[in-house]
């Protein structure tokens, strides 16, 4: 029982990452009708926003220390981060410690602007082109973006820790009557889950309760009619692209402490997030979120030793098996709309 609860928690956590990425992907797809293979790259760039903020905060003055030598026998260097010399050692250290949450503030404008540039500079020209062309050009863009990151940051993962207060884990089991250590869960992963819930809620509220959101939803349903009403739907769609990029970026920023960011982390998530979107149903935002959590939870359960003993290797393929079954049972995924991407 405790194992099942534990894996359920894991599934929620995995699922929140999938859901966030799939949400952004569906926003772009639903509004613009564009299959964006560069979405994983946006997630990755978000994570590197966190890395960059950490790097900026740890920029240091370097002084030589004659009492010690480095590996070549030269005087070794002592570096003191500027923020520590400006704000005092304690405030400075705290700032560095909180670099990931701080990065959120920087990531939002960066990602929105990046989204605008992508949409206006490239995607715009591909609205009328076949989906295969869209896939190819955004895939090319994804490769270019990740190679640029690799050129600056290298291929090795870069440790980007959560603030000290969120390290360690919380013993859930004791609360509900299990032995100590039976169900423990890291604080930062709980933060991630809560964060994902807030973002998903915010996006839905935005689409549901604002005029802007209403127009966008109308545009998703019938672009031409909305255009005929004299509403500049294009500009709103550009803004939606920016928002989708920001969602992906924020998912990346907060993911940085969970797994050290590396340049190809976007590609690792890309295929998975497409499967999530399609299982949820093309063009359906609730579907994407639902499918994200569903696949996350199933993936967590499939990795249990008891399950693996019955089906060897099931944890390697569970996502795909589920995807095939769902698409075969429900022709348009869980909540897909008729006629979207079926031609």
């Amino acid at each position: 029982m405790d194992q099942i609860i534990l894996q359920f928690l894991n599934g929620l956590d995995k699922g929140s990452a999938y859901a966030l990425i799939a949400l952004g992907l569906t926003l772009i797809f639903g509004t613009l009708g564009v299959v964006n293979f560069a979405h994983g790259a946006l997630f990755m760039i978000g994570a590197f926003c966190a890395v960059t903020v950490q790097r900026i905060l740890t920029l240091s003055t370097v002084v030589e220390d004659p009492t010690k030598t480095d590996f070549l026998g030269n005087p070794s260097k002592i570096s003191t981060p500027y923020v520590e010399s400006w704000f005092g050692p304690e405030t400075g250290a705290a700032l560095i410690d909180w670099s990931v949450p701080l990065a959120i503030v920087f990531a939002i404008p960066i990602m929105v602007v990046l989204g605008f540039i992508m949409e206006r500079g490239l995607i715009k020209h591909f609205y009328k082109r076949p989906h295969a062309d869209q896939i190819l050009v955004t895939f090319g863009l994804a490769i270019v973006l990740q190679e640029v990151i690799k050129a600056f940051y290298g291929a090795n993962p870069i440790p980007t820790g959560a603030p000290e207060v969120f390290r360690g884990s919380f013993d859930f089991g004791v609360l509900i009557g299990f032995d100590p250590n039976a169900i423990i869960y890291p604080y930062w992963r709980m933060v991630y889950f809560a964060f994902a819930a807030v973002i998903i809620g915010a996006v839905f509220a935005f689409l549901q309760f604002t005029t802007f959101g209403m127009v966008v939803r109308a545009g998703m349903a019938d672009r031409e009619t909305v255009g005929l009403l004299g509403i500049n739907i294009d500009r709103r769609f550009t803004i939606m692209f920016g928002i989708a990029a920001a969602v992906a970026g924020l998912a990346g920023v907060m993911y940085a402490p969970i797994n050290s960011p590396n340049y190809h982390m976007g590609m690792d998530f890309l295929v998975l997030s497409f499967v999530v979107v399609v299982v949820g149903g093309m063009g359906s935002l609730p579907g994407a979120v639902l499918a994200g959590f569903l696949l996350g939870i199933l993936e967590a359960f499939a990795s249990m030793n008891e399950v693996k003993a019955i089906f060897p290797g099931i944890d390697q393929i569970i996502i795909y098996v589920v995807a095939i079954i769902i698409i075969l049972i429900r022709p348009r995924g869980l909540m897909g709309r008729k006629g979207v991407m079926e031609e």
Partner: protein
């Protein structure tokens, strides 16, 4: 001629000549010049890859170009074909023919099963189904099916399925008299045998394996032309333009699309079998989704739905992949050595991020440039160029394009 129209026949002849003369065409620079080290592509391995990936993409184009069904899991058939062929070399003997035949049969069966299920859906749902099947094959081949410690080691996991000195090879020999592995051959002609022709400073390599692959590629190409021009091909095109209309007329389109799927699966299996015949080691990475993506890229790069496009796309992709990754700084210095030092160093610094470890970056940029500026792929680029040379005015071209468009509809 051969049941082809005059235009198709001319194109076929051009392809035959190109395949036959490839060792000359791909080695334009004299051996030893710095340009040769960078740009010459006339060595057996790369030439074999050109034609083998040509076969793969020709087959993919029969499905995608004609029916519009975008399979994102075609690499699975390539992988299955490769494994089948290597198993033939392990169990039966080193003649490549049984291996190639088995790879086609097995890939065909796989395609039939996967196609039967996947073709129940269309559009992106179809793409994701094929992707899911391919990723399942890849993941299983890498782990559970490839554990050397288990009795069921079908793929040998990460290392890839390879020949061993202890393999039975009932129709051949397990080990050559001098204690090495026997080599793949076509009725005694070893696939890796080459004849070097020296002409002054130039060196041209004629490789037996390349010519075998070349001949098979020409046959595949010929069959593909015939399919494109046949009533069956017309039917597939009709599926692409409007499947619903077809269904309303009371015609069941599924057997046609399934046939196209299986044919293109067999092409992929054939390509896999040939890859293994040229180099008897089959790695699971051939089935990874990026490999499937690469097939799509090659098809679109060349020009979807055109006959010659797949060959151009495959050639373009393989060429740049192989050449760019091998350029390092010392090659650059040597190549730009004629320039004054300051400029040379500056240029090397500029080019450095795009070659060697940065070859992905250049390839990504090239994809984007081609797809942005040449929506019809390289074939369209060639046509544009041809029009410019022949001096036809733009208006004429537009008119012709319009006409061909309306004719197609």
């Amino acid at each position: 001629m051969l049941g082809l129209t005059k235009k198709d026949f001319t194109m076929f002849i051009v392809v035959i000549v190109m395949v036959a003369l490839a060792p000359f065409l791909l080695n334009p620079f004299p051996q030893g010049s710095s340009l040769a080290q960078m740009f010459n592509a006339g060595y057996p391995d790369l030439m074999q890859r050109f034609v083998i990936f040509g076969i793969l993409v020709i087959g993919f184009n029969i499905l995608f170009g004609l029916t519009g069904y975008l399979s994102f899991g075609h690499a699975a058939f390539l992988g299955v074909g490769s494994y089948s062929a290597v198993w033939m070399f392990k169990l039966l003997g080193m003649n490549v023919i049984p291996g190639i035949l088995l790879s086609m049969v097995v890939a065909g069966i796989f395609a039939l099963a996967i196609g039967y299920v996947s073709l129940r859906r269309s559009g992106i749902y179809f793409s994701i189904l094929t992707l899911a099947f391919a990723q399942m094959s890849y993941n299983l081949a890498y782990s559970v099916l490839g554990n050397p410690a288990s009795n069921f080691n079908l793929t040998n996991g990460e290392t890839g399925l390879q020949l061993l000195l202890t393999d039975p090879r009932i129709l051949g020999q397990s080990t050559t008299p001098d204690g090495s592995l026997p080599v793949t051959n076509f009725f005694g002609i070893a696939m890796r045998d080459s004849y070097d022709l020296r002409m002054g400073d130039w060196l041209f390599t004629f490789n037996a394996g390349y010519y075998l692959c070349g001949v098979i590629m020409l046959i595949s190409f010929y069959i593909s032309i015939r399919i494109f021009r046949s009533p069956f091909g017309m039917m597939l095109r009709a599926v692409k333009s409007n499947q619903q209309r077809m269904n309303y007329t009371g015609l069941n389109t599924k057997p046609y699309t399934l046939a196209a799927f299986v044919i293109s699966g067999i092409y992929a299996g054939l390509a896999g079998g040939l890859l293994s015949s040229m180099d008897p080691l089959a790695g699971a990475e051939r089935m990874h989704w990026t490999a499937s993506g690469e097939i799509v890229i090659m098809a679109i790069l060349g020009g979807v739905g055109t006959l010659i496009g797949p060959i151009l796309g495959a050639g373009f992709n393989e060429y740049f992949k192989n050449i760019l990754s091998k350029i390092n700084d010392s090659v650059l210095h040597q190549w730009l050595g004629f320039l004054p030092d300051g400029i040379e160093d500056f240029l090397v610094t500029i080019i450095h991020p795009f070659v060697g470890k940065g070859w992905h970056l250049t390839l990504g940029l090239l994809f984007m440039i081609v797809i942005i500026f040449l929506p019809g792929g390289l074939v369209q680029g060639g046509q544009k160029l041809g029009r410019k040379i022949s001096g036809r005015s733009r208006r004429d071209a537009a008119k012709a394009a319009e006409q061909s468009k309306s004719a197609a509809e």
